[in-house]
């Protein structure tokens, strides 16, 4: 076990970031252009980092498998973004946002990072407004806020139900400007297939051009992975179809530790699966819980349509169980409550696989106009998908895999265990501990990209001035290229009988059943016994049609599923080893009499950072102990 140095600066929690900035090394403006930085990913984290670094004067190469940076999955974020602006004088502050985030993460995140996140959150809003993000306004023309799960103040900024879209477009436009000016080179429809480490430093990446299958190497002084989360390991999730773990996983295989893979978030408000052709699940923004009331029928085998069920036959279970937070209880808690309701046989909808989210009260209280103003486009989206009108019949919702708190382990500088390789946004594990609060991922992605990486990368590059770096003709690159070519050719050559999607579905079922909302020792053991044979079958019986020299989505999928298999095994191992319940990781064995998660701070107040050994089943578990100097560990109660 190697000790992990998280490089947390000294000083009081509130001074750490300033102390870091005062102490860090700088690159003189004219020297910046001598450094080449690769940014993989054009989501909030990637686009903001690339644009900011280019503005500073670095040469930046951006890679994305999308056709345009604007398509990154950040675009799908609906609800909003948090910031400790306290514009509404309801007692919000940097310290409160910091506290809420650590508590929301069930005391499994790194204090120093979270505090910094809360500090820069205010700058993010200023930056995005200056870029023309049309946040919702009040009649006076000032910014409006809404409250979000896990918080008792209104600190969430939003743009209708499309906050992620508007923020990403802001960052994308800033990036587009830099592309236009020639400070950024954009490689679109290019997928990272390997990272290259030479002499213990990240030397660059190997990418596959999705249009013509060409595999090429790219060298740089520093590389940033901002490649999003791995929620698609469940097959059915709210993530976009092309989200994948490949970039992070390839880095992991080259020596980057993978932290807390078992911390995955199940989002309480998604549209339940309708049939078995379902390819993905759609999220209904959590902000709906501001005005919607969650309930299920009291009686088993209830047959009446929702509106005919009288109040006394309804169980508003969240309001009953968590009086002070009610329908705004944090995600993991609401999700498990919904699961229990459905498992108890009181589920609603044709497949009895959902719970009601009812707006009748809100419409009565606020009037249809206000509700429409707030959620109009979400209601339309629901009607398009479910074919029911939420103004008349309550929505049906059920939890679904949504976000992954786990990711590449990074230190305070967001550097992975590979020097020169950074990781930002959802792809890293940094700030959300065991559970992420709503509207905090957008905040983190932009904080990393705008206000952290531009400083910390300089600190790493400064000493490298005028030192040569390995070129793409270095054997290290050539070997990685050859390996990648070989791998994709192998997928084509297996010529088995089953498609990548088939394997992905099977994998997803196992992970969802045994490593989903509720996990048990036996279940995880079972998963770990079923996964290797299935993976072997994948390697023997995969069928990929078409060729490797032109666009071939089946081939792309094969590569991604391959990595998902290996990640899946690591997830289950991590979940098995973490013998406690914390946030999104709920082990049935560890719950109190009321069925609430029971942490074990004695033995598990740490980060599990996994080290690649050549086989995920035998990865090595390193730990980073978490010190809580400012916040004292408490039971996470939302009663």
């Amino acid at each position: 076990m190697t000790a992990l140095d998280s490089k947390i600066p000294d000083g009081a929690i509130a001074d750490k970031w300033d102390n870091y900035k005062t102490g860090m090394k700088l690159v003189n403006p004219n020297n910046k252009r001598k450094f080449k930085i690769i940014v993989v990913g054009s989501g909030l984290a990637g686009a903001s980092a690339a644009a900011s670094l280019a503005e500073l004067g670095y040469q930046v190469d951006v890679f994305t498998f999308h056709d345009s940076p604007r398509r990154a999955h950040s675009i799908a974020a609906q609800g909003g973004i948090n910031a400790a602006k306290n514009y509404h004088g309801d007692g919000d502050s940097i310290h409160r946002l910091f506290y809420d985030t650590v508590k929301g993460g069930d005391f499994r995140s790194r204090e120093a990072n979270v505090y910094r996140l809360a500090q820069v959150s205010v700058d993010i809003i200023d930056q995005m407004v200056a870029q023309g993000v049309p946040f919702a306004r009040e009649y006076g023309g000032l910014l409006d806020n809404r409250s979000f799960g896990g918080a008792q103040v209104s600190r969430t900024f939003y743009a209708r139900g499309q906050t992620g879209q508007q923020l990403l477009l802001g960052a994308y436009q800033q990036l587009a400007r830099q592309i236009g000016l020639g400070n950024v080179r954009l490689f679109n429809r290019c997928e990272l297939v390997d990272t290259v480490v030479i002499d213990g430093q990240c030397a660059g990446i190997v990418v596959r051009d999705l249009v013509n299958g060409e595999i090429t190497s790219h060298a740089a002084h520093a590389t940033v992975l901002a490649t999003g989360g791995y929620g698609n390991v469940f097959f059915l999730s709210t993530n976009a179809m092309n989200c994948n773990v490949t970039a992070a996983w390839r880095a992991h295989r080259n020596g980057a530790y993978f932290a807390n893979p078992c911390y995955t978030q199940i989002h309480p408000t998604c549209i339940p699966q309708a049939d078995d052709t379902q390819s993905k699940l759609t999220l209904m923004s959590e902000s709906l819980r501001n005005d919607g009331r969650v309930w299920v029928p009291k009686n088993l085998g209830e047959t009446r349509p929702a509106n005919e069920i009288p109040e006394d036959d309804r169980d508003y279970y969240l309001e009953r169980l968590y009086p002070s937070f009610g329908n705004l209880a944090p995600r993991d808690i609401s999700s498990r409550a919904a699961k229990r309701a459905v498992d108890s046989g009181r589920g609603v909808g044709p497949l009895k696989n959902g719970v009601y989210l009812d707006f009748a009260a809100a419409i009565g209280r606020l009037g249809k106009e206000v509700v429409q103003e707030r959620y109009g486009n979400l209601f339309e989206m629901y009607e398009r998908i479910a074919g029911e009108n939420p103004y008349d019949v309550p929505m049906r919702i059920y939890p679904a895999s949504h976000y992954t708190m786990g990711g590449l382990w990074v230190d305070y500088e967001l550097m992975t265990t590979i020097p020169g390789l950074y990781c930002a946004g959802e792809a890293n594990f940094s700030d959300h501990g065991a559970n992420r609060l709503g509207a905090s991922a957008l905040m983190q992605g932009l904080a990393d990209g705008y206000f952290v990486l531009p400083y910390t990368i300089g600190n790493y590059l400064a000493p490298m001035l005028n030192k040569p770096i390995p070129g793409v003709d270095h054997p290290g690159f050539l070997a990685a290229e050859a390996e990648a070519r070989g791998r994709y050719q192998r997928y084509l050559d297996i010529k088995g009988t089953r498609s990548p999607d088939w394997f992905h579905r099977e994998l997803g079922k196992i992970i969802w059943d045994y490593c989903g909302m509720e996990r048990t020792e036996q279940g995880l053991q079972k998963a770990l016994s079923e996964l290797p044979p299935l993976y072997e079958e994948f390697q023997k019986d995969l069928r990929v049609t078409g060729d490797g020299a032109s666009t071939n989505q089946t081939l792309e999928k094969a590569g991604r599923v391959d990595d998902f298999f290996q990640l899946g095994m690591l997830m289950c191992r991590d979940a098995l080893e973490r013998r406690e319940s914390a946030g999104g990781h709920f082990r049935a064995e560890y719950q109190d009499e009321e069925g609430e998660a029971q942490r074990d701070d004695e033995n598990f107040a740490h980060v599990a950072a996994w080290e690649w050994t050549g086989d995920p089943m035998h990865a090595i578990r390193n730990v980073e102990e978490l010190e809580f100097e400012t916040i004292h560990l408490a039971k996470r109660s939302y009663k």
């Binding site: 592309i179 236009g180 080179r185 070519r485």
Partner: protein
């Protein structure tokens, strides 16, 4: 084996090309499609003005030869004695001519641009939702009107297409007689009717469209644009088509 066909280049520096030297304001504006649309709309309005005035003037036909011919004469006498006879008329003619030239030139330019913008057509039938027959046939209705005007000039202004009347030939100055002689011929009357319906269709879209082209968009009057266009087109068509019919019906005649 993934032997790449041709490698793709990264995108960069797309906005660094040195800005092209500015031409004079008008040419600069006319250089882009949006600018050409301004030209079309403005010349369109000039033509509208003419067509409307012309229609109204022609109504004098119903007051008999004297009034009508006086009107024709009056056109020539405009601003006399400040300016010599027919000068104003020629100025107006010049303006009209210019308008038609610009209008057609722009139409031609835009049409070519649009063809280039979709070099490969859709291989399955389109199912248009709102694009009207009028909007999709602007080119053709326009050309029909243009050809009509040529014939029309030959007929009633220069007169060489008029001589085949059943009694005698084109009489300069006797506009009334010329019109009657011309429109008594059924095929000619039909031509007039067809051409004016084409014009009506052209205007049905054109009058609505010019508001958009000129950026005249305002929630207060947006809802009236369609009515205005329909109304205007109807008035022109009804007015103009009435003449050949009146002549054939003998309401207008000797």
């Amino acid at each position: 084996m993934a032997q790449a066909i041709q490698s793709r280049e990264p995108v960069s520096g797309t906005a660094t090309s040195p800005k092209k030297r500015r031409r004079s304001f008008v040419l600069d504006l006319y250089g882009t499609a949006v600018g050409k649309k301004y030209a079309m709309a403005i010349t369109g309005i000039m033509l509208l003005g003419f067509v409307f005035a012309h229609m109204v003037g022609n109504l004098k036909m119903y007051l008999g030869p004297q009034d009508f011919n006086h009107y024709a004469e009056f056109l020539r006498e405009l601003l006399v004695p400040i300016l010599p006879r027919t000068v104003v008329l020629w100025l107006m003619r010049g303006g009209l001519f210019l308008a038609v030239v610009v209008h057609i030139h722009a139409a031609y330019g835009l049409t070519r641009l649009n063809r280039r913008a979709r070099s490969v057509k859709y291989q399955s039938p389109r199912d248009y939702q709102v694009a009207s027959f009028a909007s999709r046939t602007m080119r053709w209705t326009g050309i029909i009107v243009f050809l009509f005007v040529l014939w029309h000039l030959a007929d009633l202004t220069w007169g060489f297409a008029n001589a085949v009347g059943n009694d005698g030939s084109f009489v300069r100055g006797d506009a009334y007689g010329n019109v009657v002689r011309s429109l008594e011929r059924v095929p000619v009357a039909v031509l007039y009717i067809v051409a004016n319906i084409a014009l009506g269709i052209h205007l049905f879209h054109g009058v609505w469209s010019l508001f958009q082209s000129l950026g005249w968009n305002n929630p207060r009057f947006n809802k009236w644009r369609r009515q205005l266009a329909t109304g205007f087109a109807t008035i022109i068509v009804v007015g103009n088509v009435s003449f050949p019919i009146a002549v054939l019906a003998g309401i207008v005649g000797k």
